[in-house]
Symmetry: C2
Subunit: 307 residues, 2 copies
């Protein structure tokens, strides 16, 4: 049911070995919200843009099934801008430019119509703001999922720890899990992170898939082997959006359903990387998504009977 | 049924972040044969050692269920020796010393009792010798599996290509697949390698699992997330031994059975890395192996019904 997605809506300029873009629409909440909108039409966006942001894109968000009542448009201000260049292996990238613009004094407002939401996706954002959103919810959502990044680990440790304590599911990538714990082994890192507050941890390994941990169990989902990864931007956010979207659709927060949610998230991410930016994420059909999920089933399922 | 395993039997000296060993028993055929011996007691070893090799270890091979009639012991000569040091991440290593010794003029002899074997595992060895073994088989085995390494790609390209043409299943790691094809995408690399002769390709990705390809299908098996990888030496050979061992046991070379074989191979490899050298691979019980396979099932199985 109702899902609030908080995070950045941005302009990105991207260079990959396959080409480059001028300013295109990006941002963590854009990717997460768009992916989630394929699972539930009750996605409520909380973010901020400047008046340079195209109204047609806000219409597109609404058309995708997102409420934009919580999307603030700041007059006389510019939208957050990020520019990056991917290396040949597509697993690493350099940030070329970051202009925070409207993010500098972003104060997330939760409209009344967003209150009492069941699910909350805190996409990557300053941890203080993520915490503020949790505090501004009149009732605590059934499941709070939080994404973050290495930058906050390096610059906002205390605020990050305070926020992590409040969430149910944390998503980080493998190098961030190591940075957070000083453990190279992801199994050891996971155990430490699960001591920090979250009951569930997802470690995203890019082309190597994703791991879901709770204190007793672990589940692994591969990434789909693709001929080419065209542009990895937003893949992690898309994954998280598919994950929480499936959970919001089914309203089932069991570990078994989280496994399914990981597969749906992985399927959505496999679309995201096929083209620049959001291009492949607009106008997907249910048949395309089902076919992709079937590829995951075929990829990993095997049949062993132990006696 | 009968399985011939060809490759090196060696002394290794290993340094990892966890410790170092003096000369211990290693070698590709040692690991492959030992792993396979848990699945079929009809493993026939083809290799060569010097008279410095401990007879007690040859007895151990026999005790594990291997025939050593094809293991030549060269008097007045020394066993192949390799020494290496693993980096902190355990995924990369430096070779400190390689003394080919008896390998320099190794001429693999196939005893009569080894003829008409159904399955042939060509562990990593000079490609000319791997080819010679195939040619010396009076009847062509039902399935020939070949492992190789980057060194032969860099120094013995023509001989390698001639040998690859003759086998059914090739196993390489991800960087070797890229080296062999000049393709970064493993999907594209796999398609090119399947044009070189083999009907099946296994790409080993170490801690990131393994992929099985034929021209139409792909299957992925993860590696088990472990608290610590103590010593990765022999993990790839152990994987291959478990793979061909399961196939020899079941005599089923369908793609579905190869999937199961990949899981058994991955389970065996997950034991191998827990201690130095062969230490963990001696004296495993069926219950331990079953429990490990069950961990793989729990790790990757999920249940999605698409309508």
């Amino acid at each position: 049911m109702s899902l609030v997605v908080v995070g950045t809506v941005a302009f990105d300029a991207i260079q990959t070995p396959f080409g480059k873009t001028d300013k295109i629409i990006g941002g963590a909440a854009t990717y997460s919200g768009t992916a989630a909108s394929y699972f539930t039409k009750n996605v409520k966006l909380v973010s901020v843009v400047g008046d340079d942001f195209p109204p047609a894109m806000i219409d597109q968000f609404r058309k995708s099934g997102m409420s934009t009542e919580g999307l603030q448009v700041k007059h006389g201000a510019k939208t957050f801008f990020w520019s990056g260049r991917y290396h040949e292996d597509m697993n690493t990238r350099d940030t070329l430019d970051t202009q925070l613009n409207v993010l500098l004094d972003f104060d997330p407002v939760i409209p009344d119509s967003y209150q009492d939401c069941e699910f909350l996706m805190l996409s990557n954002l300053m941890p203080q703001l993520q915490k503020k959103v949790i505090e501004r919810m009149r009732t605590r959502p059934k499941l709070v999922v939080m994404d973050t990044m290495n930058f906050w680990m390096e610059t906002q440790w205390d605020a990050l720890m305070e926020t992590i304590q409040l969430v149910d599911v944390l998503t980080v990538n493998d190098s961030e899990a190591r940075l957070l714990t000083k453990e190279y082994s992801l199994v050891k890192a996971a155990q430490k992170i699960l001591q920090m507050g979250p009951r569930y941890l997802i470690i995203k390994k890019g082309e190597h898939g994703a791991l879901l941990f709770n204190k007793e169990q672990v589940f692994f989902a591969p990434a789909l082997p693709l001929e080419d990864v065209f542009d990895p931007t937003g893949a992690g956010d898309t994954f998280a959006g598919g994950f929480i979207g499936h959970i919001a659709q089914t309203r089932d927060i069991s570990f078994d359903n989280m496994k399914r949610a990981i597969i749906f998230g992985s399927a959505m991410a496999s679309f995201c990387v096929e083209k620049f930016g959001l291009e492949r994420m607009i106008g997907l059909t249910q048949a395309e998504i089902d076919e992709r999920v079937q590829q995951f089933i075929d990829l990993v399922q095997f049949d062993i009977e132990l006696v």
